[in-house]
């Protein structure tokens, strides 16, 4: 059974005089455990598509069904809770909370979920050790390198035990060494723990690692290649 299914998904921005079709009728499915990259030139609709999959932006038309539930049938508050419990996000600019330590940044999501202190502490330690930051748990983001911050962001995305992780250009701000480390970690998590990763990217290194590559152009899927 597919974990994500989109049906005739459309997003039209009607802010300016000329409506812009950012996503134009995408029908696609993602299975559990996929390691997929969405590629395409700037303005092809990658980020918009990812935002809609993540319940951050509502489609103009079409459906997004996650585990059998059409998420845009839910009320706003329910969608927020749904995101918290089912979807992990990794952003291009890491977006960690600067006043919290790495440990606290990861714990925060579990706190929102109402997990016990003991459970939070145990899982945070496991996750940060898993991304190679067991020794930097008490460091604030400004004391971490870009690569380390993005690894904390991955640990944070995993904290809520999501069904899948959406990563919007996760390597765009990283050097090649940090990119390689991050990709290795994500690949390992995918292979060992069967975690589903969907990236939007321009980065050839990410594309190389991905087992499925979906190419968008003008809001339309022009190729969907499984390696």
């Amino acid at each position: 059974m597919s974990i994500i299914e989109t049906k005739k998904l459309k997003k039209i921005y009607d802010d300016s005089h000329v409506p812009v079709k950012a996503v134009d009728g995408i029908d696609i499915t993602f299975e559990k455990g996929e390691f997929a990259a969405i590629v395409g030139p700037s303005g092809s609709g990658k980020t918009t598509f990812l935002n809609m999959l993540g319940g951050l932006d509502n489609p103009t038309e079409g459906e997004i069904i996650i585990d059998g539930i059409n998420i845009w049938d839910m009320k706003s508050r329910k969608i927020t809770d749904f995101r918290m419990n089912n979807i992990g996000f990794v952003f291009q600019a890491y977006n960690l909370i600067p006043v919290l330590t790495a440990k606290e940044n990861v714990e925060f999501i579990m706190h929102l979920q109402g997990k016990s202190k003991a459970e939070r502490h145990k899982r945070t330690r496991e996750l940060l050790e898993n991304v190679g930051l067991g020794d930097r748990m008490d460091s604030r983001p400004n004391k971490l390198s870009g690569g380390q911050q993005q690894r904390v962001a991955v640990a944070r995305a995993l904290a809520s035990k999501p069904k899948f992780i959406l990563a919007d250009e996760p390597t765009a701000n990283l050097d090649s060494k940090s990119t390689a480390t991050l990709l290795d970690i994500m690949e390992r998590l995918n292979e060992e723990e069967n975690i589903t990763f969907i990236f939007s990217t321009h980065d050839a290194r990410v594309v190389k690692k991905a087992r499925r590559v979906i190419t968008l152009e003008d809001g339309v899927v022009i190729s969907d290649e499984v390696k």
Binding site: T80, D81, R83, F91, N95
Partner: protein, 436 residues
Amino acid sequence: MIWSIAWKNVWRSKLRSLVVMTAVTLGLFAGIFSSALMNGMMEQRIKAAISNEISSIQLHKPKYLENKEIQFCINNADSVVANIEKNPEVKAVSKRIKLTGMAKTARTGTGIIIYGIDPEKEKNVTAIYSKICDSTSLAEKRHITDPSVIHNYLKDSCGTYFENARSNPIVIGQKLAKKLKVRIRSKIVISLQRVDGTPTEGAFRVIGIYKTNNTMFDEINIFVRSKDLENLTGLDSTKAHEIAILLNDNEKCKEVEKTLQSAYPLLNVMTWQEIQPDLGMMTEYMNVMLYVFIIIILLALGFGIVNTMLMVVLERIKELGMLMAVGMNRSRVFKMIMLETIFLSICGAILGMIISSIVIDYVADKGIDLTKWVGGLEAIGYEAVLYPSINLTFYFGVAILVVLTGILASIYPAIKALRLNPAEAVNCYIVKLLYC
């Protein structure tokens, strides 16, 4: 954890937070200190009015209040006084003959209120005996430094409170003495009505000149011994127009008033607030005014806080977008921003209250000397040295108002944050910030 994040966020931009906190501190200090000054001034006025002028409670014949005629007396005043003295809340009682009349000298004359009193009993109720003269300033004015000379000189210039008095002694206010151009041992003729309705006159010799901090009071109130007034008016010694009561605790006025009113239903029992409604009203009015004053200050500070918090929201659009994206619901975002605002306000407020309390304590001990404006202040019944005073309840009230200000000031920035679309906010670049 939201509390912890909010607290840490306050210190994210230390300088900006400190500027806002300093504004709150200074604003509250100014507000609390000014309130303490106004409150202290009012308390001094009430204290002086009770101790020098009206006492805590007074009893009259109801008709006397409508028409201050000599015949509207309280009968068996001595037994009423003896009864009232048994009440444990009562500190002292004094019966008074109180008449209106004319005071005349060879040069001039003026309308006065004349009190016939028992000086020893009156001493326990009002403090006029202690206002016989401002010894220090008078001696200083005349450059007299020798204590024995001062004593004799003062006795000569201001007199005493019925000490070693011969026949018909009279104690008058300094303002009246100036008006009548009299001094110690000068003769004053008092004209009033006898109990049978016929006019009468009596010559009195000035034995003491008092000076309170209310020149209006000093100008019209004069004191003589009740027996001298009884001789002059033919009034029975068992009668009195007024019974003045001083309580141990003025807060219990209403309680004692009730007891006395039920014990003496034919008499009119009045508390100081009823005797001088302007003072009573002032107490009520001042309580409201102090809070209005603080609210105005907090309102002004509130706008500063709103501005700061708007900047905070603007600067953290990406972060707020991320928080909403990962599942922080609107109520939690609102709570976080509200807590930040409250922390910001409360830190400044605590500091402001501590500084106010220290400064008020210090100034309340030393007093603020406004003798430069003594004439003006005393003309309206206020003392020239002010002692700020404020009670603990006021601080609690201010603390609650500060929290309310924090909550109100957070609403607009929080609404701005809640309106953010997480998808747009997480991708909000610096260039776009202004339009977000």
